[in-house]
Every structure is written in structure tokens, then in C-alpha cells.
Symmetry: C2
């Protein structure tokens, strides 16, 4: 089913979906898709020899495995199954996934991707964005990069809240995440347990980093028409003030407990118009998502406890499936799409 | 310009808008539209002999009046000016405004209306909804009923927050509004200063009431696919526990200070699935908008202080203008539309 069709069509047959990338996020997305009556998972793609050739249900450790769904090492072979939508979750880097995305579009499949740099690539990767938009339109399908962050709490939700404002001068979001309960790869990715020197070296090497803040700054700036000329990003360690122990690792006092990352949107004369601050570290005391808009009127919003990263990303991605199938062909963003909730019981 | 066109077209010429109804809300909408560079107000409609025939800027008390924009008593005469969009703000009752809306659609104009019962009329007024949808499609234009409530805090925002959820069992919203600083007609509409007996009589007479809760319950239930069979609504007085004085009136201890209104969505066996509670009264101590979703995960959201009713309604309405012009023909709801912020500086 090509995208751009009315969702009324969805009543007629199930949405044929392929999971591209079966890492931790891909696995949680696949499990969530499995619960939706309106979706039929017809295949998966993963290069990892430990996964390729096996049953997807078994790979993701589902209780109701096997699913009778094959994990292909060869993307082409999977795409020949003619999916309506590919859920793509392989890398944060847009440059790295261009060929993967292009192959899906050329198979006339819509895409929902967790690639952070795809969430709003018009400022950070304008040429790649234009190329994807052209290819998608050529094949009559739509794609979107989304997730909880980027894709929701620090951009989409900011723009949504702005609907009650008459003027906006400044937009801020603060996301504090306690990484203690999160998976090991994430705890490592944020540098938990490194010395401050190691942390800084790994930041330089591009290993320790949350990807997507500049994209969120750009989406907020463009959506609120704030005259942002320059987008900056800083990454510092959140240093542990006490020993912290997680299921996977120990952070000693004085070591890095995680990242303190700030994306800023600055006007021509250096005035800060957008400030998106992410504190993601083990042992964070008061996790929460907070948005503050200065303007007329001033308005703020808080999600106490914050939206849980992995659960929320799978949710946002799967909830975006009916929406992308209904979207006009081309490169879309979470900003343009009326995202909502895709019930498990929604009929195909 | 017909709706359903790409917003890229908006770059080429200003949006030609007509304000239909110049009461307090209509006036604040007109003033806000006046600030938007991309909008040209080409006329207004109001039957009130104190307004008809005069300049709109003067009627709304604008500092930069006169605007050179006429208030017409005759809707047809105004609609002959060929607006792209009519901002409609005359009544809460959909039955009462059907002829007004139909005339706008037949003039091939899109509509953004503050008519509360239009916000999600599919359960409460299915026949009128179908009629408007058919007429709109026939003339190739789109319409939406919106505002801050219904249209945003107790429905759209609930559905938006649901995007981070995997399962939802129950949805609650609580809106506490301090009516002390609001305009006199609103303070009267919520029964402030009445005895409890008067209040109950005026509720019976349909005078004291916030309109739109059943519509919000329906939007939330349908969007979250909660099996709501019955929608109920209760209206009770919020009784003053102390004497409250506003700019306009005095509420004695024991008198009604405003409304305490609850819309509920119940399953076939009477289980409460949706609960939308509105407390709007003079002297409210902790005004706030709060949303609570029970499911996986549980999630809540708060807007401390709450979104200011009149400012926010004008904002939501004006921010919906580019969106409705870009929407497919037919009856739309705030749920379907990717509402955002329409900058004063957005170029036509």
C-alpha cells in the first residue's frame, strides 16, 4: 500500500511491516508491533550473523516465539516481500544509513526511522535531506525520523505547547534522565564509570554523545520562527558526587556518571533563543521533562519522572506508523505529523 | 485560495481572512490576526447594530484603528469578498451555527471556528457532522472547531501525550481555572455570585455551563481506542468557602463561585475510562492543567498555572489558520491537525 492514501484503506488489510535493525531498540519496537492487530510483521533485516537467518521472535526473546518471521541478512531479499512500511533502527548517523533508506524508498516502502539525524535534517544535513525528499516523492512514499528524543519531548512537544502562545521570544527544554535503570549500552554511551579525562577523550572521539540535539534546536527554531543563525552544542560530564551502583556497573565519586549536554540556538548577534539541556546520568535524583516558553503568555509544562527513553521511543515509532502511511510523499518530520496513539486493538 | 493546497502557496500572497462574530473572543482573535504579517483581514461579520457598519479596528478597540476593515451585518456581502478562511466565533451551539458555517463553505472558504460543539461532533451531533463534512468536500474546503478547551488542553494534548504510551487503560485531565481575572461574561456564565439554588436552576435552564466536555471525552476515547459506550456530564457549583471579590462582582461565602463540571466516558459495564474534570471558579487557589494516563508506562503532564483561557483560545485559533488551509477538504478536528505556532513574522 503506497503512502498518501487515506487511513480508511487500512481497514481493508493489515499493514505489512519490516523491522530493519534488531538491536535493543529494534527488538522493543518489534515486540510492540507484534501486539498491534493491524500490523503484520513480514520480515526483519540484520547483518549480525548471530541474528540473520533466525526467527525474529526468537531473536528478540519473545514469549510467543517463534513468530514465523525471518531475519534476513540481505536487505534486498526482505524488501522484495513488498512491505508497506519499514521500521528502521540501525544507526544515529544519517550519512551511514543513506543507502539503507534509499533502498527502502526504492522498494516503495514508507519508513519510520529512529536515526536521530533524520529527525530534522534540513539545517544539519541539507543535501542528504533534499536527496531523500526527492527519492521519496519519486517513488510516492513518505519517511520520517522520530523517537522520544529527538522526535517528541524536546521538539514536537515544544512546538505543540506553542499553539497556546501568541508570541514566543525564547524556548527552553530540560530533560533529566536517570540512566540507572537503562540498558548497559546506553550507560556506556553516556560515559558512566569513566574518569573525567576518559570521558572527554571519548567525547572527542565521538563515542560519548547523545545524538539529535542540534536537530531538535533546528526544529524548534524553524517552527517558532525564531531567528536562529547558529546552533552550538556542548558535552560535559555529569560528575558523580557519590558512589552509584547500577545493575551493570559502578560509578565512583568523582567519575563521570553521564552526559550533560546543551544544544543552543543563537541569533546573529549571539543572543540565546533556544536552549535544550539534556542531563542523562546514573543516579539522577529528579528525572523530569520540562518545557518553558517565554512570550505572551509565559507558559511551562512538566512531565514529572520524565518519559522513559526506550519504552517511549518504541511507542512513538509504532504510533507513527499509521500516520506516515497517511502522509503525503516526501521527507516528513514529527513536527508535520499529527502523531497520536495507535491502539493494540485498532482493527486492520 | 482553496484549502488542501500546499502551504508553499502561502508564500505567494497573504491569507484573506474574515472574522465572523466580534464578541470578546472574536475581538481578541481579530487583534491577534492583525499582528500576523501573513494575514490580511478583509472583513468582519456581526449582526449587532452597535458594531455593524463600523470599522473593525474601532469595534475591537485597537490602538491602530481604523483598520479600513468593515463589519458587515450581512454575511453574504462579506463572503462575496472571497476569503480564504473565515474565523467563526458566534455560538457554542452547533445546531445554531449550521447555516452560518454552511454559507462559509459554499463561499469556498475554509473555517476555523470556536464553536465548542464543532470540536468533535461525531458522537454528539453525528448528522450535523456528516452534513458539514459532505458540504465541505463538495466545495473543496476544510473546517475545524478548536480553541483551548475544547481543542487543546483536555483533548489534543491528551492525545499528543499518548504518543509515548504503549498501552492506555484510562485517561484523566483536570483543569483548574481561576476565573477572577477573566471577563465578566465568563464569570456570569459560570454562575459566580449566584446562590446554590439559583445556580442549579440556571444549570437546568442551560445557561450556566462550560460547553465541550462531552466532545473532548469523545475525542479522547476514540483516539485512544478506549471502549467508551456512554458519555455523561455533571455540573455542580463550586461553593465559595470565603468571600471573593473580583473586578466585576462579589461572591459571598456559601454562594456559587463557579462550575465544577465532570465529563466521563464509561464502558458498556459502567467502568470509567475517561474523566475530564473542569473546575472554573473565582478564587481558585492552584490553577493548573494536569493530564494523567494510566497504562504502560503511566505518565502525567502538568501546566502549572494552566493555559489562560482567552489568550490561549485566540492563539490556538490563529495558529490553526495555516494548518486548515493546508488540510484535506472536509470536517477536520484538532486531533488530526499538526497544530503549531504561527509566527507574527511569518512571511505571506
Amino acid at each position: 500500500m503506497p503512502c498518501g492514501h487515506n487511513t480508511e484503506n487500512l481497514v481493508k488489510k493489515k499493514i505489512r511491516a519490516i523491522q530493519y535493525g534488531v538491536g535493543p531498540i529494534g527488538a522493543s519496537i518489534a515486540k510492540l508491533m507484534r501486539e498491534k492487530q493491524a500490523i503484520e510483521i513480514i520480515g526483519a533485516i540484520d547483518l549480525d550473523p548471530a541474528k540473520a537467518g533466525r526467527d525474529l521472535g526468537e531473536v528478540v526473546g519473545a514469549q510467543d516465539a517463534p513468530w514465523g518471521v525471518k531475519v534476513f541478512a540481505d536487505a534486498k531479499e526482505a524488501l522484495d516481500l513488498n512491505p508497506d512500511v519499514v521500521i528502521h533502527s540501525t544507526s544515529s548517523s544519517l550519512a551511514k544509513v543513506m543507502d539503507q533508506l534509499t533502498a527502502c524508498l526504492e522498494a516503495q516502502s514508507c519508513i519510520v526511522s529512529t536515526c536521530e539525524e533524520l529527525s530534522y535534517p534540513f539545517r544539519t544535513h541539507p543535501e542528504l535531506a533534499a536527496k531523500l525528499d526527492t527519492t521519496a516523492k519519486e517513488w510516492g512514499v513518505a519517511l520520517v525520523g522520530t523517537g522520544v528524543n529527538p522526535g517528541f519531548v524536546m521538539d514536537k512537544l515544544v512546538v505543540t505547547l506553542a499553539a497556546v502562545s501568541q508570541h514566543i521570544e525564547n524556548a527552553k527544554a530540560l530533560r533529566i534522565v536517570d540512566a540507572s535503570k537503562r540498558r548497559l549500552p546506553l550507560q556506556k554511551k553516556i560515559g558512566a564509570g569513566m574518569t573525567v579525562d576518559e570521558f572527554r577523550a571519548q567525547v572527542k572521539a565521538g563515542v560519548v554523545k547523545h545524538v539529535g540535539l542540534p536537530e531538535s534546536v533546528a526544529m524548534v527554531a524553524d517552527s517558532l520562527n525564531l531567528p536562529v543563525e547558529t546552533i552550538t552544542e556542548t558535552i560535559d560530564p555529569k560528575v558523580a558526587t557519590d558512589r552509584v551502583q547500577t545493575e551493570y556497573l559502578t560509578v565512583e565519586k568523582g567519575q563521570a556518571a553521564g552526559v550533560h549536554q546543551i544544544g543552543r540556538g543563537l541569533s546573529k548577534d549571539g543572543k540565546e533563543l533556544v536552549n535544550l539541556e539534556l542531563q542523562m546520568y546514573v543516579g539522577a535524583k529528579d528525572p523530569a521533562d520540562t518545557i518553558t516558553l517565554t512570550g505572551h503568555p509565559n507558559i511551562s509544562l512538566a512531565i514529572p519522572g520524565g518519559s522513559h527513553g526506550d519504552i517511549a521511543t518504541a511507542s512513538v515509532v509504532v504510533n507513527s506508523i499509521p500516520v506516515i502511511l497517511d502522509a503525503p510523499a516526501g521527507l516528513r518530520t514529527s513536527r508535520d505529523l499529527p502523531i497520536g496513539f495507535f491502539s493494540p486493538n485498532a482493527k486492520p
